[in-house]
C-alpha cells in the first residue's frame, strides 16, 4: 500500500473541504442532525436517521416547503457528547443549517445546549430527559415524552393495581440513570415506596444477582429503566428466577425487538409508550390514528418494524418544517417563534401544544399503558 499517496489524498480532501465550506444558500431549507447512529444507543439513532431521510425525500417529492427543497445534513455522534458538540458547531458554522433536529441521547442533547443557545438556532431534541427543556431554554425544544412522564404513567398504573412497594432496577447508561433519578424523586408523590434500587451495566449479560436480591424483598412489582439488551435479559432473568410479581419496563423498550428478544418471558410485561405501537388497535375516532398508521405503513414498507424512537424524528422534523412554512422564511428567530407556537400538532408521540413555558407540549395522556400479550402490544384500559 502506498501510504504517502493516501496521505496526500487526505491532505487534498482536507483542503478542498476547507475551501468549499461556504457554498449553497437560500434556495434550500437545511435541516441539520446529529444522531447516535452507531454505538450503544444506535437503536435510537439508526431508526431516527432512517425516518428523517424517508420523510425529507417525501417532502421533496411533493415539491418541498414553499417551493424550497429540504436538504438533510447528518452526522453520527456514536452517542459521544464531545462529538455532538463539534458536530453541532459543524452544522451551524460550516453547513449553515437552518434548524437542528437531533440528539438521540440526553447526554448529546444536553451537551449542545450551550452552543445552540449562544448561536441562536432552533434545536428540537429527540432525547428523553426532562432536563433538556426544564428550565425552558429559548432555542431548545424536544418531542419525546420525558422519563418523568414515564415514571408517572407507571406509578398511576401501579396505584390502580394497588401496588405500593416497588423494586427498581436500572441500566447505568444515561437513560437508565436519568429514569432512576426521576423514579426516585417521583415515588413519594404517588405514595410508592422503592424497596430495592439495583443497577446493571449496558453490556452486562446476566442480572440474576441483582434480581435474586429483589426476589427476597417484599416488593409488589419490579420496574426496569433501561434500553438495549439489558431489559430483555432482565425480563428473562425475572422469569428464570420464578419472580411472579408484575414487571414494568420503561418506554426504552418500545420496539418489537424487545418482544422478539425476550420471547415468552415478555408476556404480561407492562410499559408506557406512545400510541404508535398500537396504532391499529386504536379507536377509529382517535385523531392520532391516521398519522400513526401512515407512518407505520411507510416505515415498515421500507425498514421493518417501527419503534417509537423513529416516530420522534418524524414529529421533530414536521414540527420544524411546519414552523418554517408558517414563518414563510428560514429566519432563525421567526422559525423559533413559530415552533413555540406549535398547537394541536398531531404527531406520533401525541398531540403537541407548545408554549413559552412548555417546550415539549405533551401531557401524561400522550402515553398509553401497554401490556404484552401473545407476543404483541395491547392497550391497558
Amino acid at each position: 500500500m502506498n501510504i504517502r499517496k493516501t496521505m496526500t489524498a487526505l491532505a487534498v480532501s482536507t483542503l478542498m473541504s476547507l475551501t468549499a465550506a461556504q457554498a449553497l444558500a437560500a434556495d434550500t431549507i437545511k435541516v441539520g442532525s446529529f444522531l447516535a447512529v452507531t454505538g450503544g444507543a444506535s437503536f435510537l439513532g439508526d431508526t431516527e436517521l432512517k425516518t428523517l431521510q424517508m420523510y425529507v425525500d417525501e417532502v421533496n417529492a411533493k415539491g418541498g416547503i414553499d417551493g424550497m427543497q429540504v436538504e438533510l445534513i447528518h452526522y453520527d455522534t456514536g452517542g459521544d457528547s464531545k462529538k455532538a458538540v463539534n458536530f453541532a458547531k459543524r452544522l451551524i458554522k460550516k453547513d449553515q443549517v437552518d434548524v437542528i433536529v437531533g440528539g438521540s441521547t440526553s447526554g448529546t442533547s444536553m451537551a449542545v445546549i450551550d452552543e445552540v443557545e449562544s448561536e441562536g438556532i432552533p434545536f428540537i431534541s429527540l432525547a428523553g430527559s426532562v432536563k433538556i427543556v426544564e428550565p425552558v431554554k429559548k432555542w431548545v425544544f424536544k418531542v419525546p415524552h420525558t422519563d418523568r412522564m414515564a415514571a408517572g404513567k407507571i406509578f398511576e398504573d401501579m396505584k390502580k393495581r394497588g401496588i405500593s412497594k416497588v423494586a427498581l432496577i436500572s441500566g447505568d447508561g444515561g437513560f437508565g440513570k436519568s429514569g432512576r433519578g426521576e423514579t426516585l424523586a417521583l415515588a413519594p408523590e404517588y405514595g410508592i415506596e422503592i424497596v430495592a434500587d439495583e443497577s446493571y451495566g449496558a453490556k452486562d449479560t446476566d442480572m440474576t444477582a441483582q434480581l435474586t436480591k429483589i426476589r427476597d424483598t417484599d416488593a409488589q412489582a419490579v420496574l426496569n429503566f433501561g434500553f438495549g439488551t439489558g431489559p430483555a435479559i432482565v425480563t428473562k432473568n425475572v422469569r428464570q428466577l420464578g419472580i411472579t410479581i408484575p414487571l414494568y419496563q420503561s418506554h426504552g423498550v418500545a420496539s418489537k425487538k424487545y418482544i422478539e428478544l425476550a420471547g415468552d418471558s415478555a408476556e404480561g410485561v407492562r410499559l408506557p409508550a406512545a400510541a404508535l405501537l398500537v396504532a391499529d388497535k386504536l379507536a377509529d375516532a382517535d385523531p392520532q390514528k391516521p398519522v400513526l398508521v401512515a407512518y407505520q405503513t411507510k416505515y415498515e414498507a421500507a425498514h421493518g418494524a417501527v419503534s417509537t424512537f423513529g416516530g420522534h424524528a418524524f414529529d421533530g422534523l414536521y414540527i420544524a418544517l411546519e414552523a418554517i412554512d408558517r414563518a414563510n422564511s428560514t429566519d432563525k428567530a421567526k422559525v423559533r417563534d413559530e415552533i413555540e407556537k406549535t398547537t394541536n400538532f398531531i404527531g406520533t408521540g401525541g398531540i403537541f401544544n407548545m408554549s413559552a413555558t412548555d417546550h415539549l407540549g405533551l401531557g401524561l395522556d400522550a402515553f398509553k399503558m401497554l401490556e404484552i400479550k401473545n407476543g404483541d402490544w395491547t392497550l391497558v384500559e
Binding site: G201, D206, A209, T212, S265
Partner: protein, 293 residues
C-alpha cells in the same frame, strides 16, 4: 441467605466460564506469538453472529450445521488475522502489536456492522428454557451448556498442549522460536494453528452464551476487555491460570453485585484485580520472570 449465595455462585460460574474461554484464547495467542490479541472479543461476536445468520430464515441451516459453519468461519477469520495482520508485523514492539490488534478489532466490528447492521439478535436455547431448581436457586439448561461446554473445551485444550505433537510444537515455538525452527517445526503453520484454535474457542464461547446474552456487532468489546482482565488476573501465558482468572472474575462480579453494590460491581472487580497485581505483579499463576543482566 444461602439460597442467594448459591444463586450468585451459579451466575458467577456461568459468566466466569465465558470469561475463561475468552481468556484462554488470549493466553494461547500470547503463548504462541507474544501478542496480546485485542481482537479476541471479536471472535466471540463473529461466532455468535454467523451462527445466527446461518440458521436464520426459512432457507437457514439446521442449528447444529449452522454452529459448525459458524465455528469454521470464525477459525478462518482467526487464520486470516494471523496471516495478514500479525505475521507481516513480526518483531514490532509491544504497543505496535497492541494497536494492530485494536485496529483489527475495529475493522472486524466495522465489517460486522456492514453485514448484519446494528440490530440485536437472539439465538434459541439449545435445550429449552425451563429453569432447573436447586433449592431456591435456579438455573437454565443453557447455563449447564455453558459450564459443561467450557469445561470440555478447557480439558481439550489442556490435552492438546500436553499430549499431542502439534500442541507441544506450539509450546516449543513459544519457548524458543529459533530452536523450534531448527528442530524442524513449521513455525509459520503453528502460528496459524494457534490463532485458529484461539478463534475456535472464541466462537464456541459466543455460540454457547448467545442464547442467554443475545449478541450484536459490538458485543465483542466488553467480552474482550473482561477476557483480557481475566487472562492478566490468572497470569498472562498460563492457560489454566487464564481459566482460573475467568472464573474468579465472574464470581467476584456476581458476588459484588449481589452482596455489595450492583453499580460498583465492575469497579470492585477491577479493584481486586489491581490488588492482586500489587501483591503478585505477574498475576495469580504467572511466572515471575527474572531479568538477566
Amino acid at each position: 441467605m444461602w439460597d442467594q449465595i448459591l444463586q450468585f455462585l451459579i451466575t458467577g460460574v456461568t459468566v466466569g466460564a465465558t470469561y475463561a474461554l475468552v481468556a484462554l484464547g488470549f493466553a494461547i495467542i500470547y503463548n504462541a506469538s507474544d501478542v496480546v490479541n485485542f481482537a479476541q472479543g471479536e471472535f466471540v461476536m463473529i461466532g455468535a453472529m454467523t451462527a445466527i445468520a446461518l440458521s436464520a430464515g426459512d432457507g437457514g441451516l439446521p442449528l447444529p450445521l449452522a454452529l459448525i459453519g459458524a465455528v469454521l468461519i470464525t477459525i478462518a477469520v482467526g487464520i486470516l488475522l494471523q496471516r495478514f495482520a500479525i505475521a507481516p508485523a513480526r518483531g514490532a514492539s509491544v504497543v505496535t502489536t497492541i494497536i494492530i490488534t485494536i485496529g483489527a478489532s475495529i475493522f472486524l466490528r466495522g465489517v460486522a456492522l456492514l453485514v448484519w447492521g446494528k440490530d440485536i439478535f437472539a439465538m434459541p436455547h439449545f435445550s429449552g428454557e425451563i429453569p432447573l431448581h436447586i433449592g431456591n436457586a435456579t438455573l437454565l439448561p443453557q447455563n449447564l451448556w455453558v459450564m459443561g461446554g467450557a469445561a470440555l473445551l478447557v480439558m481439550g485444550v489442556h490435552y492438546f498442549f500436553n499430549h499431542t505433537i502439534i500442541g507441544k510444537a506450539i509450546l516449543a515455538c513459544s519457548c524458543n522460536r529459533t530452536a523450534a525452527h531448527l528442530v524442524g517445526i513449521n513455525v509459520g503453520l503453528m502460528m496459524l494453528v494457534a490463532y485458529g484454535l484461539s478463534a475456535f474457542l472464541g466462537a464456541m464461547a459466543g455460540i454457547l452464551v448467545a442464547p442467554i446474552t443475545f449478541t450484536s456487532y459490538d458485543a465483542g468489546v466488553m467480552l474482550g476487555l473482561k477476557g483480557f482482565s481475566a487472562a492478566i488476573l490468572g497470569g498472562m501465558g498460563n492457560p489454566m491460570g487464564a481459566v482460573a482468572g475467568g472464573l474468579a472474575l465472574g464470581l467476584i462480579e456476581s458476588l459484588a453485585a449481589g452482596l455489595i453494590s450492583s453499580g460498583y460491581k465492575d469497579a470492585i472487580g477491577f479493584i481486586i484485580l489491581l490488588l492482586v497485581l500489587f501483591i503478585r505483579p505477574s498475576g495469580m499463576f504467572g511466572k515471575v520472570s527474572a531479568e538477566r543482566v
